[in-house]
């Protein structure tokens, strides 16, 4: 409970800082938007309309009261309410993230598992080599290679956009590549660690075979840190896969943020960043909570 309060506090401070940071940029955004030929009167009128002439704390308060009700203002460049834009964008990001997460967890988990079981053999080194590639290749590199090979060269999937489910394959792989590498390494380490524990000896002493030991004892304990990491990864993915969305032209939260920056669209930028940060904060909470649920040792006694 205390952690939830703390998290909310952080969120509040984050929104404050964001607000301030975006407004200390010199220049009147309205003037920028309207271009060189607008006359001063129009600029002043719009400024007053948008409430930008008020002192900063008033503006912040108004923003907050709107945000709590779900109103994040209106986008300067696109004209629509920010919440509406974020809504549609989030759907895409959600689909993409889930696909990427599934890919990452399944491939990464399997790689890590198999690598640990055959420790120090060729499959182990191979899988770990892949996972290393996973965490060191920049996202855009993976994305572009995939695009080139599978979309352009082999024509197996569309190059970009969100036409149908097939167009999510490449971005999901590109996005999940990095996470897969992390999961693989973690699962391998955690599993190897778990297998050294004493209760594994007990299980073997009871007569359990390799698979029995693995599935009934080792994996359960390996899942503890793994699930925590999975929760963190999911929130990282949800908070905006900026590069992947840009490369594959997917209209998600990340891409929206980039558009907002290029267009100097403050409400949109603020909305997207705030939203993403909230997801991250929430994700951390969930990860902490999950750990408590899964590990009976951390539960408070009734």
């Amino acid at each position: 409970m205390k952690r939830i309060v703390q998290a909310l506090l952080v969120l509040l401070l984050v929104s404050l800082m964001l607000f301030v940071m975006l407004r200390i940029v010199p220049g009147n955004p309205v003037a920028v938007l309207m271009g060189e030929h607008a006359n001063q009167a129009t600029i002043d009128r719009l400024t007053a309309e948008l409430g930008l002439d008020q002192p900063i704390h008033v503006q912040f308060f108004r923003y907050l009261s709107g945000a709590v009700r779900g109103d994040f203002g209106t986008s300067y460049s696109l004209g629509k309410p920010v919440s509406e834009l974020m809504g549609t964008a989030f759907v895409n990001t959600l689909l993409l993230s889930l696909a990427a997460a599934l890919f990452a967890w399944i491939t990464g988990g399997l790689c890590g598992l198999l690598a640990a079981i055959r420790k120090n053999s060729i499959p182990d080194r191979l899988f770990m080599g892949f996972s290393l590639l996973g965490i060191s290749m920049p996202v855009f590199m993976v994305a572009m290679i995939l695009q080139y090979v599978f979309a352009y060269w082999l024509h197996w999937v569309p190059i970009s956009g969100t036409a149908d489910w097939r167009s999510f394959i490449l971005p999901a792989v590109a996005l999940g590549w990095n996470s897969a590498g992390s999961i693989a390494r973690l699962v391998r380490s955690a599993l190897l660690d778990t297998l050294e524990e004493d209760y594994i000896d007990t299980a073997r002493a009871k007569g359990l075979g390799k698979s029995g030991v693995l599935f009934r004892h080792a994996l359960r304990n390996t899942m503890l840190p793994t699930v925590t990491m999975m929760a963190l990864q999911l929130s990282a993915l949800l908070s905006g896969a900026v590069i992947t969305e840009t490369v594959f032209s997917i209209n998600g939260i990340g891409r929206l943020a980039v558009q907002a920056i290029t267009a100097r669209d403050i409400p949109l930028l603020q909305g997207t960043v705030l939203f993403s940060t909230a997801i991250v904060i929430f994700g951390n909470l969930v990860a902490d909570f999950l750990y408590t649920v899964l590990d009976p040792r951390t539960r408070k006694e009734a």
């Binding site: 975006l22 908070s239 905006g240 990340g254 943020a257 997207t272 994700g283």
Partner: protein, 315 residues
């Protein structure tokens, strides 16, 4: 920052290695080592972990390239040759030319200045800043702790790319601001770690001893606490540099970092993107360079961790 947290979890796990020989009875059959000096430590690392040795060499090689860039290539950084645009690799241009006729290899070498320096320098600065703030928070506690840690929390709550983007927006584009952005982004995780190390060290006997003879707080911090945080921080440094390199290249890729006509690997990738299908090397070559740099630092960090951390635990 979540990526970093992930990395932390993974590295923590990998380095809690159990005794390789098995039951404790057997471990007593082995020699107890002598205390190792820093030099010996480095030698041992290179002996045991060939990969880190190679990585260090690669890094040094890259740094050499950045310094010697003008010497290594006959072309200037921004020499355009519009007659020879988009040429594939050839005898004249080992890595081909880009859309402005500039030699790709040259751009790569000059770009390495930016990309590597942007990896190393801001990370170093954020280390210093973070370490100081973290130690202060840990040592002085109460209000200092609360304030500093709240600030760190705020910085850490942002998804890293978005944070970078927002700061760049506030500050404007350009090299100097990229430096600043990266520094401001990374100090949070350093501070957290420095703080927990400080809390641990505060309870140790040599700190108590120093306090009992009246050594001033700041002296304790600089003489005792910071030096003992050093091994962890060194490892953290080698693991944060690749993150910084990736962030800069991502920013430049999005057009928010280094602006043309400057060169940075990320920027090269971005500009090459339009020609992905007729001149793929324009994007892939700098990407590969980034990957090599990231891998090298990761391996180096792993090797250092193997060698430095077990000692820490024993202490």
């Amino acid at each position: 920052m979540l990526r970093k947290k992930e990395k932390q979890i993974v590295s923590d796990f990998e380095h809690r290695k159990a005794d390789p020989a098995g039951p404790s009875e057997i471990s007593e059959a082995y020699d107890l080592g002598e205390a190792e000096t820093f030099g010996k430590l480095m030698l041992r690392m290179f002996r045991e972990n060939k990969l880190s040795a190679v990585s260090l060499l690669v890094i040094l090689l890259m740094i050499l390239c950045t310094i010697l860039a003008p010497v290594l290539t006959p072309y200037g950084e921004t020499d355009m040759d519009l007659l020879n645009r988009l040429q594939p690799p050839s005898g004249d241009h080992w890595l081909g030319t880009d859309e402005g006729g500039r030699d790709v290899l040259t751009r790569l070498l000059y770009g390495s200045r930016v990309s590597l320096m942007v990896g190393i320098v801001p990370t170093l600065l954020s280390m210093v800043l973070g370490a100081l703030l973290g130690v202060m928070a840990g040592y002085f506690g109460k209000w200092t702790d609360t304030v500093i840690m709240r600030l760190a929390d705020i910085v850490l709550a942002f998804p890293s790319m978005l944070l970078a983007m927002v700061i760049m927006y506030t500050l404007g584009g350009g090299l100097f601001n990229v430096f600043l952005t990266l520094t401001l982004m990374n100090w949070g995780s350093v501070a957290r770690i420095a703080r927990s190390e400080t809390l641990r060290l505060k309870k140790s006997e040599f700190v108590e001893a120093a306090r009992s003879i009246g050594v001033s707080k700041w002296k304790i911090i600089f003489r005792h606490i910071l030096p003992n945080c050093l091994p962890t921080l060194i490892v953290l440094f080698t693991l944060n540099v690749p993150a910084a390199i990736l962030t800069e290249s991502s920013l430049s890729f999005l057009g928010l970092g280094i602006q043309p006509p400057g060169a940075s690997w990320g920027l090269m990738v971005n500009m090459g993107r339009q020609f992905l299908y007729n001149a793929p090397w324009l994007s892939f070559v700098p990407s590969a360079a980034i990957m090599v740099a990231v891998l090298s630092f990761n391996f180096l960090g792993d090797g250092l961790r193997d060698v430095l951390d077990p000692r820490l635990r024993k202490q």
